[in-house]
């Protein structure tokens, strides 16, 4: 009976001289058969635990990154007051007066570590790009999931995935060399490299993410809902607008939040095309310096374990917290939607 149980393990042609020992063992007495089975179960157990460990390792890594990042970031406050993260009173010898400067200027006779310009920069890039990619991404997602024929989808989906595969440095180079000057001519901006050019570049990265997630959440809406809507005499447009989209709204918002997180984290495009001047501004056509670009630009030369070094870790920690909160938020919304749709 035992032999039958594990019979499927046997190769179709059994040649006793060349078969591996495990198969030969099964032909011997019951005890050895049992042992083989035991080893097999043990193997299963090991694989199971390995898989679990692989899952756990990601949690462990996140936790370790968290600990390391914050351990280093908190050292910053040993030498600098938290107030400096907003701004600093600096005496201007030329104008002979004290001025409150909200600047990031780590290399200076009076180092200034205000996070305000960096936060401004990050949001001025991420927010417009999320709005643009959300408008087009939701439209495209609806089209893919509700309107497009299978044939169209077969062409459109891989094209979108190709979009997501473009390395961001290529996008940055393109925006800088090709798109920046015409954009300046169109919008008559003071700066050729500005947050808006960066936002358009980041849109190329965030757009496919939003489309995919919107399409997924629309497809998760049970067919019964749509059929009920049609049965009540609604047109296809009314069904999409009044039934499917509202049912999937949490998924759609989660898609936008995750797209926003991706836009905030984008580094290379922003570093290349936004000019990297740390300005506190609300003007989307101004030159800006984002949290990510700031780290990328300064980490190369920063003196190990100096004040500036810890300041960069603090910037990283702030960025991490923002994206972490955004992701958790999106996860909660998605969970709620899954529960609601199960009904």
């Amino acid at each position: 009976m035992m032999a039958q149980d594990i019979g499927w393990l046997k190769p179709p042609l059994v040649d006793s001289s060349s078969t591996p020992s495990i198969y030969r063992m099964t032909r011997r007495g019951n005890l050895s058969q049992l042992l083989t089975l035991k080893t097999f179960r043990a193997g299963e157990w090991i694989v199971e635990k390995l898989l679990a460990a692989a899952g756990m390792i990601s949690i462990l890594f996140i936790a370790l990154i968290f600990v390391f990042l914050f351990k280093e970031a908190l050292q910053f406050f040993k030498t600098v007051s938290p107030m400096d993260l907003i701004g600093k009173w600096v005496y201007d010898e030329y104008d002979e007066k004290w001025v409150f400067k909200t600047m990031w200027q780590a290399i200076s006779s009076v180092p200034k570590y205000s996070l305000l310009p960096l936060l401004c920069g990050s949001f001025l890039v991420a927010f417009p790009s999320t709005v643009i990619s959300a408008v087009f991404g939701i439209g495209c997602g609806i089209y893919l999931s509700e309107v497009a024929s299978d044939k169209t989808r077969e062409v459109l989906k891989p094209t979108l995935e190709l979009f997501a595969g473009i390395p961001s440095v290529v996008i940055g180079f393109f925006m800088l060399m090709v798109a920046a000057t015409p954009l300046q001519d169109i919008f008559h901006t003071k700066f050729r490299m500005n947050a808006f050019v960066g936002a358009l570049g980041v849109t190329i990265v965030a757009f496919p993410i939003i489309v995919t997630l919107v399409e997924d959440s629309l497809r998760a809406v049970p067919k019964a809902l749509r059929e009920a809507s049609y049965a009540l005499g609604a047109t296809r447009w009314q069904t999409i607008w009044r039934t499917t989209l509202p049912a999937a709204i949490s998924g759609v918002s989660a898609a936008c939040i995750l797209g926003f997180g991706r836009a905030l984290g984008e580094t290379m495009i922003v570093l290349m095309v936004t000019g990297n001047a740390a300005l506190v501004t609300g003007n989307v056509f101004s030159t800006v310096r984002s949290l990510t670009a700031n780290i990328a630009a300064e980490m190369g030369y920063v003196e190990h374990q100096s004040e500036h070094y810890y300041a960069l870790f603090l910037v990283g920690a702030v960025l991490f917290v923002i994206t972490f909160v955004l992701n958790i938020f999106a996860e909660i919304i998605l969970n709620r939607m899954r529960r609601k749709l199960r009904m």
């Binding site: 010898e93 030329y94 600047m103 200027q105 780590a106 290399i107 200076s108 006779s109 310009p117 800088l176 060399m177 920046a180 000057t181 003071k190 700066f191 050729r192 490299m193 570093l271 000019g275 990297n276 001047a277 740390a278 300005l279 506190v280 101004s286 030159t287 310096r289 630009a297 300064e298 190369g300 030369y301 003196e303």
Partner: protein, 292 residues
């Protein structure tokens, strides 16, 4: 067949060992570390010198002037490259550690101020440059140009050039907040060629071959005459830097922990000699006066 393979393997391993530890075979090993401004020139020097003197192994790495001098103080390098003078504080530290840094001038570097070729402005005073980069002058009409905003470009703060310009031209005041920082002189040249209102600075030689970029003449003060860092036929003007007629230039240094002797002295003498200085010219810096 198998023996052949093994002997091949052994040879490969030996070859790798030789490339990775040239010191153990060559016996004489010089490490140089420091300024990123000098690193390419330093590597070129090392390559050429090693070709002529195969018994010497020279390793050149970058990291910045501060990194190089720190390594000198820690005793982990034979020589430090620096695009600035060693600070008094650093000399103190070195003396405490038992080293007496010796300074060697190895080249000069003229910094050019550049604008777009469409800009009518031809010359600026040092004071105007200070005003522009600190943000007190924000319109080209204030310095004799058309009425248009001044768009400032600078290197990243890691650059020795950034710090030299800040100390020498801006008298250590901060850059204007809207001063855009770009990585590398090529990014700057590209930005200036596309921005009719832009202004930037960088090593003079780099801008010579750049289209749509104009190198400005600079005046020490209102009364003196404007001097260009390049000659009429479009080469870096060595004479202007040597005489100090063109005001924005600096020495590039190498520091040794003691008075150099033996192989290191021979290497430094070679750098300061005609062969080393020829490489200085090839790279685009200004050779030492009297070397040619």
């Amino acid at each position: 067949m198998k023996a052949n393979l093994i002997s091949k393997l052994v040879m490969a391993v030996l070859a790798m060992a030789m490339t990775f530890t040239p010191a153990s075979f060559a016996g004489r090993n010089i490490t140089v570390t420091g300024s990123d401004t000098i690193v390419i020139m330093g590597q070129k020097w090392a390559e050429t010198y090693m070709m002529e003197h195969p018994e010497v192994a020279i390793q050149v790495t970058g990291g910045g002037s501060g990194v190089g001098i720190a390594a000198l103080i820690n005793g982990t390098t034979d020589a430090a490259n620096a695009s600035r003078k060693i600070k008094d504080k650093e000399i103190e530290k070195a003396k405490q550690a038992g080293y007496y840094p010796e300074e060697h001038k190895v080249a000069l570097d003229s910094l050019a101020v550049v604008v777009n070729s469409g800009n009518p402005v031809k010359e600026l005073t040092l004071k105007q440059l200070m005003g522009i980069f600190t943000g007190r002058i924000s319109n080209w009409s204030e310095v004799g140009g058309e009425s248009a905003p001044i768009i400032r470009y600078s290197r990243e703060s890691s650059s020795g050039t950034y710090q030299f310009f800040k100390e020498f031209v801006m008298k250590n005041q901060d850059y204007a907040a809207d001063c855009q920082t770009l990585a590398g002189t090529s990014a700057i040249a590209n930005a200036i060629s596309k921005d009719p209102n832009g202004i930037a600075y960088g090593g003079a030689a780099y801008f010579l071959s750049q289209p749509s970029v104009k190198i400005l003449s600079v005046k020490k003060d209102d009364k003196s005459t404007a001097v260009s860092p390049i000659t009429a036929d479009g080469r870096v003007d060595y004479e202007a830097a040597w005489s100090g007629a063109y005001p924005i230039w600096r020495y590039l240094y190498m520091y040794t922990p003691f008075k150099p002797k033996g192989e290191l002295k021979a290497y430094l003498d070679w750098i300061k000699g005609p062969e080393g200085q020829k490489i200085v010219e090839e790279i685009g810096y200004v050779p030492l006066k009297g070397s040619r």
